[in-house]
């Protein structure tokens, strides 16, 4: 596993967010989760989004992941206007452009690793033969060639997260969006997972990690800090 730290040159613009606001109605109270956020993310970036709870970090992540649309403002993903899209169009973007990695892994418990990784390809309409091949390929990439037919409960936490990462990679997305990817792992396994992200970054993937842990964020090349629904700082790190 290579941990040598290199920064890759920026590619074309992937995410272009301009003046995004998000309001929630909680009973009589209106919550301003995002108060006007602008953010540009390019291909080949390794970005960490940080912030305490209530900072709008999760809302921003949902927005970036096309799980949610802004109340106000512009959002373009690969020059497509996401802000105006309906449910099924968003599902299509998520399927083709975004690879999700969740804190709780979110694997289907009754399916083996291979089936779990194949899932996005089913929704993309990839024929079965090709599905198996591509799923096997990414499982090999994350070092699970010997665990393909294990169910999630037969895998360790680190292995489960690797399956989830393989699932995120399998449809060759524009970005990988990881939400507290080490939150449910012990620190040793967490280090291994972050090394895997480093490796994937070096292989040419664009990675966005949402975290509240400083040392996890330090793996990224750029750190965006949120506070009270606004971007507090946006810095490149070595």
């Amino acid at each position: 596993m290579s941990t040598a730290r290199t920064t890759r040159p920026l590619g074309p613009l992937v995410i272009d967010i301009e003046g995004v606001k998000k309001l929630y109605q909680m009973g009589a109270e209106t919550i301003h989760a995002l108060r006007g956020v602008s953010l540009k993310i390019h291909r080949n970036e390794y970005l960490a989004i940080m912030g305490p709870s209530g900072s709008g970090k999760s809302t921003l992540m949902n927005m970036l992941g096309c799980l949610d649309t802004p109340t106000e403002g512009h959002y373009e993903f690969n020059r497509k206007n996401v802000a105006a899209m309906v449910d099924d169009e968003l599902a299509d973007i998520r399927n083709r452009e975004i690879g999700f990695v969740f804190q709780t892994f979110n694997l289907l418990p009754r399916s083996d690793a291979l089936k779990n990784v194949e899932l996005p390809l089913i929704y993309a309409g990839v024929p079965p033969e090709e599905r198996h091949e591509r799923a096997k390929h990414v499982l090999r990439e994350v070092g699970l060639e010997n665990r393909m037919h294990h169910k999630p409960n037969e895998l360790s936490g680190g292995q489960r997260q690797r399956v989830a990462i393989a699932r995120a990679l399998v449809n060759k997305p524009s970005i990988i969006l990881a939400d507290e990817p080490t939150g449910n792992l012990d620190s040793q396994t967490g280090v291994e997972i972050m090394a895997l992200f480093e490796q994937l970054y070096n292989l040419g993937n664009t990675i966005i990690v949402v975290t509240h842990e400083e040392d996890i964020a330090q793996h990224a090349r750029r750190i965006v800090r949120l506070r009270d629904g606004l971007i507090e700082s946006d810095k490149n790190v070595g």
């Binding site: 799980l67 449910d87 599902a91 969740f102 899932l119 996005p120 089913i122 309409g125």
Partner: protein, 417 residues
């Protein structure tokens, strides 16, 4: 298009994995559908069994034979209009046959006078009660459908000569002559000796009510000589040439009978023409009753079953909210999720339907073995209808929860614990 197909097979896999993971729950849920399908198939079996046994009974009676009688079959309200009709006579039959023979284009073949009553047939100490006695002319052989196991029918000469000869139904023959050939032997009918000239093959019963095998057929003149009955009237059975032209044949017979009876134009018929198909009309309300009861039970059971499936699908959606969120995050569209839960509820319902069909077929076979006379019959159409009905139940029951699941907000669903 491909995507839809892959999603469909994926949904099928999920549904069966889900059902096999919750076998007990799925079976309990399917119970309502099972009961409903058993009710509907048993009802269908009873009705189609009644139909087919009716058809075969009709064939036994001779479906190409119509009856001239004083009374119509079936209930009448103005009985006094019928009571005063003159009784039918042997001479009417003779006259009818003369008319039939002289009209070349007739649809009628032959008229046979028949007198009936019931009585005891004895041989030594053995006796059979409640034997159906029929006195007929020598032409009777042309209208009965049964074959002879032994012997023959009495000849015209025997019939005209009022000879004491008889033909036995097979049950009568077997009861009186357990170990020997009945033909040539003598039986006592109401004290009069009759020589057996023939025995009929086994025919079975009419709708399980009246057995054709406990009858005795005598020459009508011998019947009249020994048992009287001239005043009780008789019936004339008329065989027709083409059963497809039954109605025309009936009209012709009415015309001939009016001539025989010397009725004036405008006068009401003073006889009735009866056909076995009249039984059909009597059977219809019975079939309707069974159908109504069956449909009511089926409807009720399927309604309860549908609510059960709906409930369990709601539970299933709730339990797998996070999974739905994950699937949506990975690119599942609304229709994917809708399809997934709909297929699951259809699968539960179809399994219930299949179990129901298996149960009621087994039940039908058991009933058929225990009571061979009871008409039961399961048809492919019934199986297809049952499967369609259970699939429909699954769709109706699963739609609301599946729709709800497909509309879940992925953000909310992912956060659900």
């Amino acid at each position: 298009m491909n995507t839809l197909y892959y999603e469909f097979t994926e949904s099928l896999n999920i549904a069966f994995a889900q059902i096999s993971a919750h076998k007990m729950r799925s079976m309990l849920t399917a119970l309502g559908v099972i009961i409903g399908i058993v009710a509907v198939t048993l009802m269908g079996m009873a009705i189609s069994g009644m139909d087919s046994s009716f058809e075969s009974s009709l064939a036994m009676l001779g479906d190409d034979v119509i009856y001239v009688q004083k009374w119509p079959w079936g209930p009448v309200e103005d009985w006094w209009n019928y009571a005063n009709r003159p009784p039918l006579q042997d001479s009417h039959a003779v006259e009818l046959n003369r008319l039939i023979e002289s009209s070349p284009n007739t649809l009628l073949e032959v008229a046979v006078p028949v007198r009936t009553r019931s009585g005891v047939v004895k041989r030594g100490d053995n006796s059979v009660n409640g034997v159906f006695m029929a006195g007929a002319s020598g032409d009777y052989g042309r209208i009965i459908t049964a074959d002879f196991r032994e012997g023959r029918l009495f000849t015209d000469t025997e019939a005209e000569g009022a000879r004491n000869v008889c033909v036995l139904g097979c049950d009568v023959a077997d009861a009186l002559f357990p170990a020997q050939n009945a033909v040539g032997q003598t039986v006592q009918v109401k004290g009069y000796p009759f020589q057996v000239v023939g025995v009929l093959v086994r025919q079975g019963s009419f709708l399980g009510l009246f057995s054709f095998d406990t009858q005795i057929i005598l020459p009508i003149k011998a019947f009249e000589k020994d048992f009287g009955g001239k005043t009780r009237g008789l019936e004339i059975r008329v065989k027709i040439k083409d059963k497809k032209r039954l109605e025309e044949a009936k009209e012709e017979l009415v015309g001939l009978m009016r001539r025989v009876r010397g009725q004036l134009p405008g006068e009401r018929d003073n006889f009735s023409i009866n056909g076995a198909e009249a039984f059909k009309e009597q059977l219809d309300p019975v079939k309707k009753g069974i159908a109504m009861a069956g449909l009511f039970v089926t409807g009720l059971a399927l309604f309860v079953g549908a609510i059960g499936i709906m409930n369990i699908t709601f539970v299933s959606v709730k339990e797998r909210t996070k999974e739905i969120g994950t699937r949506k995050a990975l690119g599942a569209k609304r229709r994917t999720i809708l399809l997934q839960f709909l297929i699951e509820s259809i699968a539960v319902s179809l399994i219930g339907g299949l179990i129901g069909i298996i149960l009621s077929s087994t039940l039908g076979i058991v009933i058929g073995h225990l009571f061979p006379k009871l008409p039961v019959e399961i048809s492919p159409a019934l199986i297809i209808i049952s499967l369609l009905v259970s699939a429909g139940t699954g769709i109706v029951a699963g739609f609301a929860p599946a729709w709800g699941a497909s509309r879940l907000d992925p953000v909310v669903a992912l956060r659900y614990e």
